[in-house]
């Protein structure tokens, strides 16, 4: 899988690459401009020197000489750390003054002032050539004054100038990148909050995400997600409704089948037909139970189209009443069903209908799996402020390896030979979870039978 880069990395790349490229171009351009201006200034200074010399040339009897005291000339030469060199030649090219090793110009310009680059004394030099007529209008030619200066001086100045221009820009780029890095972190903070909100959600919670806290650019994404959540929850609700509706629709035909079977059982005299009808009757009983449990399950799930009627439930009273309802069934199987409670059993905030349904399923299971002559005890009490409901039976028990799996839908412990459909404990857990209660299943102290315990934490309330 290709690793997707982070938004921050992308933004920084998109910002810094063009910035650095532009900055480099800027350096080149700036260096060029700096050089141009430095050249202009230095050329002018060079010309000034040439003009100074020119102004002090005297002509006496066809002889020209520079009328500058030796000290001044030495000063001229030593100016700028002695980088300045000059040569004055007469109209015929005869030497008048200055550095004799000065190379001759490659081409002789007839302009009054001309500049060119040359190499002498092993160095790159910039040279200004100034022609000063010996006597204007006399046609006696001109004195050529050449002044040279080392080029490195100029490039040093240009570089210094450039550094001063470019360094603040570099700082600016670093500031911009830091601003983006920080800004993205700040800008993405709401997304991190959102991620945490989604991570902490229960898989049942399909409520829309909060839109207001995220940046406007992300809002369409949240809206799209909320739209998906809405469609998902509608589809889940539709499915649950379908299960509920289907179960409802099945009830009437099953009632018909059951009534007719019971009627036929009464009227039949032959043992063989009775046996067949008894089997049919057992099947209708099983279907009835399955339908009722499917309905229970559909109802136990949140958003099942039935508003949960939350109220303060007296768990002891509810357990007593529900257990009472099951006494005839237990007696019919010759099972001793009993009830114990503490007068001070803590109350539970919940849906009494669902809680009753939960206990119904626990009792149904217990009565089904306990052999005749067995005992079942329902207890409601308080432990450390938590309300606790337990159903204890001395049936065959659940092997340790299966204790978690029995809560799965349609899971049945093999070899129990009872016609359960495997939804009872799934319903129990579903309802317990809605009440934030904890279901545990373990054998009695002597290792036999089964105890199912539902613990309602003190602060729990229905979801």
């Amino acid at each position: 899988m290709r690793r997707t880069s982070t938004l921050r990395r992308q933004l920084i790349a998109w910002l810094s690459v063009p910035l650095v490229v532009l900055w480099s171009i800027n350096i080149l351009v700036n260096y060029d401009i700096a050089k141009q201006f430095v050249n202009l200034a230095y050329d002018r200074a060079l010309l000034e020197v040439a003009l100074d010399i020119g102004r002090n040339i005297k002509h006496v009897n066809n002889q020209s000489y520079v009328d500058l005291p030796e000290v001044a000339l030495q000063m001229l030469q030593s100016r700028q750390s002695g980088r300045l060199r000059y040569l004055v030649t007469g109209p015929g090219g005869e030497y008048i003054s200055g550095e004799p090793s000065f190379p001759a110009p490659e081409e002789t310009s007839e302009d009054r002032v001309s500049y060119y680059d040359d190499v002498f004394l092993g160095r790159d030099m910039r040279v200004v050539a100034l022609r000063v007529p010996v006597q204007p209008g006399s046609g006696r030619g001109a004195v050529l004054i050449r002044v040279a200066e080392r080029v490195t001086l100029r490039s040093d100045s240009a570089t210094a100038l450039l550094v001063r221009m470019v360094l603040p820009q570099a700082l600016l780029i670093f500031l911009a990148i830091f601003a983006v890095w920080y800004g993205v972190a700040r800008g993405l903070a709401p997304l991190t909050t959102l991620r945490r909100e989604i991570e902490q959600r229960s898989h049942r919670d399909l409520a829309p995400l909060t839109e207001s806290t995220v940046p406007r650019e992300v809002q369409p994404l949240i809206q799209a997600m909320n739209d998906l959540l809405a469609r998902l929850s509608a589809s889940i609700a539709a499915q649950r409704r379908f299960i509920g509706d289907a179960a409802h629709q099945l009830r009437t035909p099953i009632a018909g089948l059951k009534t007719q079977t019971e009627l036929a059982l009464r009227q039949t005299r032959t043992e063989e037909d009775r046996a067949t009808l008894k089997q049919m009757y057992t099947s209708t009983e099983q279907i009835t139970r399955l339908i009722n449990q499917l309905l229970s399950l559909a109802r136990a799930e949140p958003d099942a189209g039935r508003a949960s009627a939350t109220e303060r439930v007296d768990l002891g009273k509810l357990a007593r009443e529900t257990t009472t309802d099951w006494v005839p069934r237990a007696l019919a199987r010759n099972i001793d069903l009993g009830f114990e409670d503490q007068p001070s059993t803590a109350g539970v905030d919940g849906d009494p209908f669902l809680l009753r349904e939960m206990l119904n399923n626990l009792l149904d299971n217990a009565i089904r799996y306990t052999q005749p002559g067995g005992h079942i005890t329902v207890r409601a009490n308080s432990a450390d402020g938590d309300a606790v409901l337990t159903v204890e039976d001395d049936g065959p028990g659940v092997p340790e390896a299966e204790r978690e799996r029995v809560f799965e839908r349609f899971y049945r412990v093999l070899g129990t030979g009872t016609e359960g459909c495997g939804l009872g404990l799934a319903i129990v857990r579903e309802i317990a979870e809605r009440h934030q209660a904890i279901v545990s299943l373990f054998p009695k102290g002597d290792g036999t039978g089964t105890i199912v315990r539902i613990t309602f934490p003190r602060a729990a309330t229905i979801r």
Binding site: T252, P253, I254, L263, T288, N334, G338, E340
Partner: protein, 226 residues
């Protein structure tokens, strides 16, 4: 005794009709709400077994119209819905009992008998449980036709147990029944009365079972486990 069954499922309607006819009731059967409303407006019945999800006119509406006409015929609602609110609504509208499909035929028959008995004002005041009978107006109990000697409090306990025979009666309910004779009936006193009563009726085959933590239950003889 005339019973009207309002049920649109033909198989269930047929099963109900035939089983109730076997119990010597005269049974009429209609399959839609409009017919039911019409028949109920023109004829008298001792009991109506009413389905809720009906074509043309809904079950609740039939019940509402029936009670608006002032009829006091007992109504047993038979429905595929078992949502609590529906049950409450049905009873609020004047239904007398409520049974969810699918049901056990003996249970339906028992409720039909109970409703018809209740419908007959001033009807039999004799409760019975197997060989045991109790004349609540004459305050006399008979076992296999022989009168048995009971104190007023024992009689009160027996009456409470017989009124709910086959079901659990808790100590609070027994205490309520005895209230009026004694100012305060303690749990221990009730245990004593039950103990005495048990000695008198159990030789006749009727047993009073103690249900741990819940109360007592009166059992007919031969009420063998399946």
């Amino acid at each position: 005794m005339r019973i009207l069954i309002v049920e649109d499922d033909p198989v269930l309607a047929d099963g109900l009709t035939r089983s109730l006819r076997q119990t010597d009731f005269a049974v009429d059967c209609v399959s839609d709400g409009a017919q039911a409303d019409h028949v109920l407006a023109s004829q008298n019945y001792d009991l109506v077994i009413l389905d809720l999800g009906l074509p043309k006119i809904e079950g609740f509406e039939i019940l509402r119209r029936l009670r608006r006409r002032g009829s006091r015929v007992p109504v047993l609602i038979l429905t595929a819905r078992d949502v609590l609110e529906d049950r409450v609504k049905g009873l609020d509208l004047g239904a007398d009992d409520y049974l969810t499909k699918p049901f056990d035929l003996p249970e339906l028959e028992a409720r039909v008998r109970a409703l018809i008995r209740r419908g007959q004002s001033g009807g039999s005041s004799v409760l019975s449980c197997g060989p045991l009978t109790l004349d609540t107006s004459g305050r006399r109990a008979m076992l296999h036709g022989e009168p048995i000697e009971l104190s007023a409090r024992e009689l009160g306990v027996l009456e409470a147990l017989m009124m709910r025979s086959g079901r659990v009666v808790n100590k609070e309910q027994l205490a309520e029944q005895l209230y009026g004779w004694d100012e305060e009936v303690g749990a221990n006193a009730i245990e004593v009365y039950v103990h005495r009563l048990r000695k008198k009726v159990e030789p006749g085959g009727v047993s009073i079972r103690t249900i741990r933590g819940l109360g007592y239950l009166l059992e007919k003889p031969g009420h063998a486990p399946d």
